[in-house]
Amino acid sequence: ELPPSHFPAARAAAVALGYLRYLRGGPGRGLELRALRRARRQDIDDVGHKYYLELELEDVLDKDRTVSCTAEVLYGLGSNSSAPDVQITVQGELSSTEEADKEFYNRIRSLEKELVAENIPDSHGNVPPELEPIHLLAWAASGYVIWQNSTENTKFHLAQVKHVKQLKRSDEDLQFDYMLLLHEMVSQEVIPWEVAVLWHPQRGARVCRD
């Protein structure tokens, strides 16, 4: 059993949140951790350390509701190689983003020139309302990076979207090339990370891998 408010449990929760943001996040849904209710760690011989978590999440666009989740995060041994294994179960429904997604999709598709933006939020913490969906899509993209690159001794947060550029595509997907700044809390480094993301209202976010 671990104190849920202390960092070792919080690090595992950050991985679970990153994973879920990637799977379910997007321009119309920004999932944030409201509270970590419970955390347990199990040391499995020859395999690694497994964290069992009970999380309470909220959507930043709909803060009156919360959603409960359970998650299992398995960090493998000698873990320089692979991403932690994450299983997550959401209790109940996340609110629908169909309308917001459609509106965003149509707005971007109808732009005369490809979208370009930088410093989201800006130095003073401001995000222009029209760029909030781009910001939330960056959360989804960063979720992938955080999930893939976390170890038991790291805790990543998205510090800022340094730059984002839309790339024209011939198919139905939207593509955004992000330069993200990730803050790693233990080393205190702020690391620039390039991520290319495809997004579509029905298909959700997918990170392009080289």
């Binding site: 020139k113 913490g125 233990v186 205190q188 702020v190």
Partner: protein, 417 residues
């Protein structure tokens, strides 16, 4: 929608702006002396575009009334000729309206005025330290405790009603350059102290019985760098021998288990411990001041962000400090006080176990010097905005934190040693 459009088309934006240029336009001021001269102005308004600033329209012009009006660039010479020919006295109030507008824009960015609900740049904060001391001479005095690497004076504010044998609480902000909410809190604290002294019983008692040393920005060079070059900078800006990398982590630079754990020996790392304890001018100045006033300083508070934590020693070891029980109860109560305002949850505990071990911290050093009540605050938020906390959160963050700080200060006052 328009904001997106602006971001996309730089060329289209500049074309739009040219239509609104006031380049070369003049503003005249004159006092028509009689009906004849009023007629001349009427005539002028009938043959060209005249924008009356004062009064609103030519129909309101009367003799002896001061009249200000704007004329477009090409017509201004004709107007001057006409005014001269008719012997009317006039002055050119603004010779080039566009230049005047540009100058006004420049002045607001360079000499920005201080606000407790905005992030202030270093020049603004420095000026504020002088002003606040000058405006409240019996409560605030300013001194310089040293110089930064780049030669900037480190201002310290001493707050409190003067009295004999007073004990003190030392509080600093801005150790890490990118943690902008931290200096904002020190400024807020000072404001609350001067504004509520004599009105709030707790604050009045605190300032009567204790002194507060407030260091609004420790790492000034770093702070300036986050305003001018890199918003995510953390360390000082000192050069490192044999490296192209700049800066030392000031909160790994104190003589407390120095560079043993949670700090890096590499100058390029964000947690570089420095070439030696107190290698940085800023940390040495802080440590020297505390050493010189050790007999009077009874508590040490250091303000950081982010994560919403209230930590106490030790960071450099998992061992618990001798005063663990007491520190833990204080932290527990202070966190409760903080949460009472906006429900903001803080986690508290001994630093190594609560977050991670890290050596060379100023709070550990202060504690080992004998300052029993040593706390580190990590302010809002928990990662949504992180270092880029929106200005709209400055007030609520500072208000709730103040409750915790006042609680701790009051406890210290009631448990002086």
């Amino acid at each position: 929608m328009w904001a997106l459009w602006v971001l996309i088309g730089a060329a289209s934006v500049s074309a739009h702006l040219q239509n609104l240029s006031f380049d070369g336009q003049k503003v005249f001021r004159m006092i028509p002396q009689n009906d004849e001269q009023v007629e001349i102005l009427n005539f002028l308004a009938s043959i060209m575009e005249v924008d009356f600033w004062q009064p609103d329209s030519v129909t309101l012009v009367r003799p002896k009334m001061q009249v200000d009006f704007r004329i477009e660039a090409e017509k201004s010479f004709d107007v001057e000729d006409l005014l001269k020919e008719s012997g009317m006295e006039y002055q050119v109030l603004i010779d080039n309206l566009q230049a005047a507008l540009d100058a006004q824009l420049d002045s607001t960015t360079h000499t920005a005025s201080h606000s407790y609900q905005k992030y202030n740049n270093w020049d603004t904060i420095a000026a504020w330290t002088a002003d606040i001391a000058a405006q409240n001479p019996d409560l605030v005095s300013r001194s310089v405790i040293g110089e930064t690497y780049e030669g900037r004076p480190m201002y310290l504010l001493k707050m409190g009603k003067s009295g004999p044998n007073k004990k003190a609480i030392f509080m600093d902000c801005g150790f890490h350059a990118r943690e902008w909410i931290s200096p904002a809190f020190c400024q807020w604290f000072v404001k609350e102290a001067v504004e509520t002294y004599g009105k709030d019983t707790v604050m009045t008692t605190l300032l009567d019985k204790l002194d507060f040393y407030v260091l609004p920005v420790v790492n000034i060079d770093g702070y300036v760098y986050t305003w001018t070059k890199n918003r995510m900078w953390r360390k000082t800006r000192s050069k490192n021998a044999n490296s192209i990398c700049i800066g030392t982590d000031p909160n790994r630079n104190f003589d407390a288990g120095w560079c043993t754990v949670g700090a890096s020996k590499s100058p390029c790392a964000a947690t570089y411990c420095g070439s030696a304890p107190e290698s940085e001018k800023e940390t040495k100045a802080l440590a020297d001041f505390i050493r010189e006033h050790l007999s009077t300083i009874k508590a040490y508070l250091t303000i950081h962000s982010y994560s919403q934590l209230l930590l106490f020693p030790y960071s450099y070891t998992y061992d618990l400090p001798p005063d663990y029980q007491e520190l833990n109860s204080i932290a527990s109560a202070a966190s409760k006080e903080l949460a009472s305002l906006h429900n903001t949850t803080y986690t508290y505990g001994p630093a190594a176990k609560t977050i991670y071990p890290a050596s060379g911290g100023s709070d550990d050093w202060a504690y080992d010097q004998g300052i029993k009540y040593a706390f580190t605050f990590e302010l809002r938020d928990t990662g949504r905005y992180g270092f880029l906390l929106p200005e709209s959160q400055i007030k609520p963050t500072c208000e709730e934190t103040l409750l915790a700080v006042k609680y701790i200060a009051n406890y210290v006052l009631e448990h002086l040693y």
